[in-house]
């Protein structure tokens, strides 16, 4: 039975650049109204996937249907119903904030009055109304990103694609962007985003796939993924570098569900962090610092790939 709520459907989706396979036969589908994420380190194939969804990169193989259409044949009709926030800003910095929306709206063939009305609403939504007449050039990275988000909404898209929406922003600007994206999600806009920030994925995504080296390593909701691939809590221990290795050997005796020895820290995956910390002390170990925290998607990624996300 065809499912009209499946907006994007991919099977065996592949992207090759010469001998290099950037996206290696991935399967996923996006449902109406959900916020879907591709989580993975740089070079995992997230942006290549996004560009194929955005119909600006022809696929090398596999099946891809977007809004019931084939990007290879109906690119313009699909893109007319997508909103795109690219990884690097593509605003026209010599034009004003308002003019950027005008030009972009015209690309969609919208009448001037419609663009003007939506521009007012969108600038208010991203809190840029007071900068409407300003040139884009002097705007900070955070303001530019907000403007890019406003621009991507000018055609009232059914799916909003965000490629690394907060990369390069300072923490405060990131939170503003997250807040706006969360509001969009509340309004029922379908979001697809890529990120290498696990907190971004946890906050925004209903469902996500973990990508590594062009393949999907795991998929599910953040909670499902953590439940499946990690423990409830993590105990992070930091030792004097001289004792780091010895400590790791001793800790192995604790038979924690899993232990990761990083360059600067040792992570113990256990059901209860405080109980584990007491056990560590009982072994006669004196960590310089210790931290009990909840498992995150970072831990899931580490478990799946043996590497950290933000290296």
């Amino acid at each position: 039975m065809p499912d009209p709520d499946v907006l994007i459907y991919a099977r065996g989706l592949t992207k090759r650049f010469g001998d290099f396979t950037a996206v290696d036969g991935i399967d996923f589908e996006l449902r109406r109204g959900e916020a879907f994420g591709f989580l993975g380190p740089n070079g995992a194939g997230k942006s290549s996937t996004m560009r194929m969804i955005g119909c600006v990169s022809p696929r090398s193989g596999g099946e891809l249907s977007i809004l019931g259409m084939d990007p290879a044949a109906d690119g313009p009709a699909i893109r007319a119903r997508l909103g795109v926030v690219p990884q690097d800003d593509t605003l026209d910095v010599e034009l004003t904030v308002r003019e950027n929306l005008l030009i972009y709206g015209r690309y969609f063939g919208l009448p001037r009055e419609v663009i003007s009305e939506r521009t007012d609403q969108l600038l208010e939504f991203v809190q840029l109304s007071d900068r409407a007449g300003d040139q884009v050039e002097p705007l900070s990275g955070g303001l530019r990103r907000r403007l890019t988000i406003a621009r991507s909404l000018i055609n009232e898209p059914e799916i909003l694609l965000l490629d690394e929406p907060t990369t390069g922003l300072d923490p405060q600007a990131r939170h503003v962007v997250w807040d706006r994206l969360f509001r969009l999600k509340q309004r029922g806009v379908t979001l697809v985003l890529t990120t290498h920030y696990m907190d971004e994925a946890e906050q925004l995504c209903d469902r996500l796939v973990v990508m590594d080296a062009g393949k999907i390593a795991a998929s599910g909701s953040p909670r499902e993924l953590i439940g499946q691939y990690s423990t409830a809590e993590v105990l992070e221990l930091r030792f004097d570098p001289a004792e780091h290795e010895q400590a790791a050997e001793k800790l192995a005796d604790m038979r924690a569900q899993r232990m990761e020895v990083l360059a600067d820290r040792i992570l113990l995956y256990i059901p209860n962090g405080d109980v584990a910390l007491t056990a560590v002390r009982r072994l006669g170990l004196q960590p310089l610092t210790s931290l009990v925290r909840r498992s995150t998607l970072e831990d899931v990624f580490l478990r799946l790939t043996g590497r950290r996300l933000e290296d």
Binding site: P2, P4, L67, G68, P86, L95, Y107, G109, S219
Partner: protein, 275 residues
Amino acid sequence: MAQAAAPPPAAPPPASPPWWNFAVREFRYWTTNYRRTWRGSIYSSVLNPVLYLSAIGVGLGTLVDKHGSAKLGGVSYIAFLAPGLLAAAAMQTGIGESTYPVFGSVKWRRTYYAAVSTPLRPPDLFRGHLLFTAMRLVMNCAVFLAVMAAFGAITSYWALAALPVAVLTGLAFAAPVEAWAITVRKDTSFALIFRFGMIPLFLFSGTFFPVSQLPGWAQPIAQVTPLWHGVALCRSLSLGTATIGGALAHVGYLAALTAAGIAVGNRTYRRRLYV
């Protein structure tokens, strides 16, 4: 995947608007952008012919005319020079509009990447920008003709027909150069085409003196350059000496070059922007 999913139902094939519809949207982008700079560009499009026509047309022309102008076809030097300069100016506008603006749209302002994520396709961007280049050519060449008239350098009403010919000359450069410019990775490549392409053409395509003055071996070379065709036709129109056969040959050559540039550009734009 957690749950088995079925593909969505196939959507009905979308209605596609006429090809020029999208190109016009891109054209309007360039005109919006141009609104900030048009005043300056008008000054230079007036100043350029005034400077050349007064320095070379009048200044040097007075000396040339003293020694008889049989080789120029019995007309004053300024009347000979001005239509040649018109074609050469069209070449400069055509190349100028299709180098840095195209490169900048990919590398600096990256606006082409924004445009391709809308319904527009790479060939739409190419044709939209060519339309804008055509508009700039019409403006510059019309101003040039007006300045020529003010200098008394026009001897025939046929000179009005030199306007579309000059525009076509500009496009015969703009289309192929733009098709190439989108593939350029470093803007230093443009200095090469200016130095080894545009300037020699400007000097030796019959703009300043008839190509019959060139050594015998060089004459056929000059006559296959597109600028020579533009210069020759603009000149014969301005002087009222054009023939139908000659005009058709020149126009055919320039139109063929434009069409070839468009055919190549549709591909190079696609290859550069759809990766």
